[in-house]
Symmetry: C2
Subunit: 363 residues, 2 copies
């Protein structure tokens, strides 16, 4: 029976306790050197002879040694980064895409690189509080702020704490030196969308803009308006976040005179709502009305007709976030092979994915 003898073993304090994981003291003893040498060898620092280094590495590997995160953090400060997701349970597709962002970031960080830990908070303010707590507890060395908003409590908190951060999205004002920004070039994509719709012949387009607080919708709307305007088409903007509000906003829009012949939404769920309202009003998509989702997601395939959508290269965005994070955390060895990405970056958005929800306007 392998019982665990936890408390004070009266005998040799450092000998083989049953489930003890090895420390550098064990490695040093086994290799016949001091802990200093072990530390140097293990961290690839100069000042250790090749033979000693190799022996130490071998012994460490044999013993299955791994650095104790706590000890290392205590001495050198935390190495991990934290990302607090704002999730209120309603933003389905956005939530899933956040995970893809994390996947991309992890990939850029590499397996041996710093860790990115994800947490979830119901509100922006809650996220800010959590980050503040964890910063003062020295739990993380930097934070990733996804979906930056115009007046963002998270950014205010990080600014005040002078904490390093990677911010997804451009924010107004000048940023602290420890910050990096990564954003999506969706303005270009929405400009192309404007051209696309104008080329189809649409002259009255409406944009059902999502949250005013998010920065992306504004940028997108502006780009879309400019592109349409250049071609003699007009854009009407209608606010409507969330399914209910969106439905309430779309109904009068489609019932009134001079109804738009194309509607662009910010996300996939809202586009689904538009499809639904149109159907109830007896409008057939795409013949009576074109609908475009501003964010492509799996749900865009599920609707009838399937939704034409602006791509959302969230994994690529994640890669950029990871690169920026490496930069923020101390610019050491980036994942080799990958071209050392710049700290700040803009991620390109591909061409519109044309599906079944767009057509020329009714004559």
């Amino acid at each position: 029976m392998v019982s665990s003898s936890r408390p004070n073993d009266p005998v040799h304090p450092h000998t083989t306790r049953p489930d003890r994981r090895p420390t550098i003291v064990d490695v040093a003893r086994a290799a016949g050197v001091s802990t200093a040498v072990v530390s140097y060898a293990l961290n690839g620092r100069p000042g250790v002879s090749a033979s000693t280094r190799e022996r130490v590495l071998r012994v460490a590997d044999e013993l299955g040694w791994r650095p104790a995160t706590a000890a290392r953090s205590l001495r050198s400060g935390p190495a991990a980064a934290g990302l607090v997701l704002v999730h209120d349970g309603r933003n389905g597709a956005r939530a899933a895409s956040a995970l893809d962002l994390v996947v991309g970031a992890q990939e850029a960080l590499g397996v041996d690189g710093p860790t990115l830990a994800v947490h979830v908070a119901p509100t922006v303010a809650g996220a800010a509080t959590l980050m503040e707590t964890w910063w003062t507890e020295r739990r993380y060395a930097a934070f990733v702020v996804p979906h930056a908003r115009s007046d963002d409590a998270r950014l205010a908190a990080l600014r005040r704490l002078n904490a390093p951060a990677v911010v997804v999205g451009e924010v107004p004002g000048v940023s602290p030196p420890g910050w990096r920004h990564v954003s999506l070039d969706d303005a270009a994509a929405f400009a192309r969308l404007g051209s696309f719709l104008a080329d189809l012949g649409h002259t009255r387009v409406a944009m059902l803009a999502g949250s005013e607080e998010l920065l992306a919708p504004r940028r997108r709307t502006a780009a879309l308006r400019a592109a349409l305007g250049e071609r003699g088409a007009s854009l009407r903007t209608v606010a409507g976040e969330g399914a209910d509000k969106a439905a309430a906003a779309v109904r009068p829009l489609l019932s009134g005179p001079d109804r738009p012949t194309a509607i662009v939404t910010d996300d996939d769920a809202t586009a689904g709502v538009v499809l639904d309202v149109a159907r109830r009003l007896g409008l057939s998509v795409p013949w009576d009305l074109s609908v475009v989702a501003g964010t492509d997601a799996a749900a865009c395939h599920l609707t009838t007709p399937s939704l034409t959508a602006v791509p959302f290269p969230v994994r690529e965005l994640g890669l950029a976030v990871g690169a920026a994070l490496l930069d923020v955390l101390g610019g050491d060895t980036p994942a080799r092979g990958a071209p050392t990405a710049p700290g700040n970056g803009t991620v390109a958005v591909g061409n519109l994915v044309v599906r079944g929800s767009t057509a020329p306007p009714p004559s």
Copy 2:
């Protein structure tokens, strides 16, 4: 200019360095006591006079003291739990629901309780590797294993490491004492679904089962079959995970003779595929064919018709996970107010959400 004077300040080693966050030494000095007393007071341990305790707490609060995670972990072992999500970028709704699980768990853990950190891995094997690494690095005190599978590398790894865990889903065999299990009572829900379909008059039902590796699909299928069988209806099972395979599996099913009059799927995305195939074959849902999604999600509203679905109380599941985690991490103060949930638990699934995709079979 507030330059940071990092390295060895030759002067008082412990005086006010610019951005130094306070330690218990600072608190002790300010309160005029020793660090031991501070530690006792801060942790609510007996052996400190009420007046001293209060003074210490006040001073700590004034100084904005927070425990340094690393130091505490080094001494007492890690306090946080880790959850590694398996996310391959395809399972949209499942991914979003995983976040709701985390939200629920956090709620049960409470704001001052242990932290739950989420990570993402592309495969089950990758998740197992990560957990093993982090266990040996003493990063986490326990792990949450979501979506346990029948032959799960994660469970094998945790077993081998003798690491505490909360497993979502029942697994065959006997579990280590440090494990807790939380699962969804979807068998009951699928039994009710069987009754519902039989009562509508369906006699030929098909189940489009998801991954064979996941445990839930089997349990669900068995319960559905039993309930249908009791009422003289039959269930045909068809394998088909992922959109393409599902479509390929459904097409012959609906084209052949004796086609089922109702199809049940495991998740929302697959149900959407079924709707699509049915439409292409000229079958109108729900009049020619009823469709039920085995997992309710936001996407179920987006389809035409909207999908009747089995509820998926993932937040409640998360609450149970959080309670189990508290139990595993050392059974200390659970979030007060909440009735101390048992370590192992089964979460009830509510009644079928009937929407537009179900009707009596065609005469």
